[in-house]
Amino acid sequence: MEQISAFLQAIPYDQILIQTLNGLVTGMILALVASGLTLIFGIMDVVNFAHGELFMLGAYIGVVVLAASGSFWLALLLATLVVALIGAALQITTLRPLIGRDPLNTILVTFGISLVLQNYALWQFGPVARKIQEPFSGHFSLFYLEYPWYRILIAVLSAAIIGGFWLFLKYGTYGIWIRATTQDRVMAQAMGIPVPWVYTAVFAIGAGMAAASGVLFGPLVGVTHSMGLDWVLKAFIVVVVGGMGNLGGSIAASIFISLLEAYAAIWVDPAQAVIVSFVVLILTLLFRPTGLFVPTPK
C-alpha cells in the first residue's frame, strides 16, 4: 500500500496537465499542416515534399504583412490566401503536366520546389530568425506557470479551420467533388467533375492551410527559412500513422503523437522526446501499415 501511494504521489500531476495542454496545442497545429498533406496525397497520390516550405512561406508573408499593416489577423488572412494562390500556380505549372506519371517524378519535383523556396527565403530574408508578435499577450496562471492565452487561441483557431474544412467537405458541392475524386477519379470525371481543377483546388487549399499554421505558430518559435523541415517530417509521420490519405486518421494521429511527445518531455529532454514519434511510426509500419486510426481493411 505504501508503495502504491508513494508511486501515486510521485506522479507529477501538474506537469502532466501542462503537457497535455502543450500537446494539444502542438497537435492542433500539426493537424492543420498534416490535413493538407494527407488530402493532397489521398486525392492525387502526390507526396508533397514542399509542404513544409509552404508553411514557412506563410510565416514569412505573415512577417511582412504584419510589419506593413500591424494587424496579425490581416497577416493570417493574406498569408493564407497568397500561399493558396502560389500553391495553385505551382500545381498547374509543375504537377499537372505530370499527372499519370510515376510518383517518383512528383517526389523529385516537390523536393526541388522545396529547395528553391527554402533558398529563396534565405536569400530574401537572411539567416536571422524573424519574429511574429502574438496578437495579444494575456496569461492565466496554471500551477507555477503563467500560461499564455495565445496558445489556447492557436488550438481553438486550428480546430475551427479544420472543422470548417470538414463541413465544406461533408456538405459543399465542391467537397463532394473532392471526396468523389479521391475515391474514383475516372468515374468522377465521367460524372462531369473537372478533375484537373479539383486537383488544383485541393493543392491550393492544402497550401493555404499550411500557411495559416505557419503564421499561427510563428510567435512561438521565430520564423526561419528552415522552419518547415521539422514540421514536414512530423507531418509525414502523422500522415503515415493516421493512414495515408485519411483525413480523420491524420488529425487523430497529430494529437496522439503530439501528446506522446509532450508527456515524454516530462522525463527526457524535449529533443529526445521526438524519438517517441519515430517509435510510433516504426511500430505502425510494422503492425498496422494501413494506419492506426482506420478500421482494419478486410
Partner: protein, 243 residues
C-alpha cells in the same frame, strides 16, 4: 461511311484503340440515332466495353473519329462530354462507396444552371423509378446490394439529364427480378427519348430492349441489323455468341 443525317446522335467511325501495345479495337464503326436503343453484343473481351470507354473519352482512339451531334469529340476530356449529354454506367458500377446515395446523385446533379425545382424534379423522378434509393438516401453507396448499386449507377447517370447513356452490362450478376426492373428502366428511358448504347451478354433482353444491334468479334463489328431480324437462337447469334 459518314452521313449527313441529322438524326445521328453518336457516330463512331473506324476507331482503333490500344491499351499499351495491345490493339483492342480494329476499326469499329457504329451509330446511334437520337432516342434510339442500340444493343452491342459479343463475347467477353471483344472490345465492347472499350468501345463505350472510347466514346466516353476515358481512352482515346489512336485512329478514327467519334462524333457527337456531328461534332468530333475524340480527345475531349470526359468531364466535358458528361456536361454536353453523354452519361456512362460502367460494368463494375463504380459507385462512390464512401459517399451516401444522395451524395452519389449530387455528383451529377450539382451543375451550374440547374434550378432547384429542376433538381428536385429529377430526384423525384429517379426516386419514383427506384423507391429503394429514396429509402437508403443517407446510406453509404458501398453498403448497398449489387442490384441496388446498379440502380444507383443508372440513377446517377440520369442526374446528368443525358442525351445518351452508355450502359455496360447492367444485368450482370443480378437476380431475375432485378433484371426485369432494369429492362423496365431501359424502356422508361427510351420513352423519355434518351438514347442508350447497351452492352449486354443477356441476348433475349438485348433483342427485346433494342431497336438495332451490332455484333462484335475480335475488335471489329461483324454484323449489324434491326433487333427484330434476329431470334435468340439465330445461327448468327450461335456463331458469334455461342459457346
Amino acid at each position: 461511311m459518314s452521313t449527313a443525317d441529322s438524326s445521328a446522335l453518336v457516330e463512331v467511325e473506324d476507331i482503333h484503340t490500344y491499351y499499351g501495345k495491345s490493339h483492342i479495337l480494329h476499326g469499329v464503326s457504329l451509330r446511334v440515332e437520337r432516342g434510339e436503343v442500340v444493343g452491342l453484343l459479343g463475347r467477353n473481351g471483344v472490345g465492347k466495353s472499350t468501345t463505350l470507354k472510347t466514346i466516353m473519352g476515358l481512352v482515346s482512339p489512336s485512329r478514327g473519329k467519334v462524333l457527337f451531334e456531328r461534332n468530333p469529340i475524340a480527345g475531349v476530356p470526359a468531364h466535358r462530354l458528361a456536361r454536353i449529354g453523354i452519361a456512362y454506367v460502367p460494368e463494375d458500377r463504380r459507385i462512390f462507396r464512401l459517399l451516401t446515395v444522395m451524395e452519389n446523385l449530387r455528383t451529377g446533379l450539382d451543375r451550374r444552371g440547374v434550378s432547384d425545382e429542376r433538381k428536385q424534379g429529377l430526384l423525384d423522378k429517379v426516386f419514383s423509378y427506384f423507391p429503394v434509393l429514396a429509402e437508403r438516401r443517407d446510406q453509404p453507396g458501398g453498403t448497398l446490394s449489387g442490384g441496388e448499386q446498379q440502380m444507383l449507377a443508372i440513377a446517377r447517370a440520369m442526374m446528368l439529364e443525358p442525351k445518351i447513356i452508355l450502359l455496360d452490362e447492367p444485368t450482370e450478376g443480378l437476380m431475375p427480378r432485378m433484371v426485369s426492373q432494369i429492362r423496365d428502366i431501359i424502356e422508361a428511358l427510351h420513352r423519355e427519348g434518351v438514347a442508350i448504347l447497351l452492352v449486354e451478354q443477356n441476348v433475349p433482353l438485348t433483342l427485346q430492349a433494342s431497336q438495332r444491334v451490332y455484333i462484335m468479334e475480335k475488335g471489329c463489328v461483324r454484323h449489324h441489323c434491326a433487333a427484330s431480324e434476329l431470334r435468340v437462337n439465330d445461327p448468327m447469334i450461335q456463331q458469334y455468341l455461342g459457346i
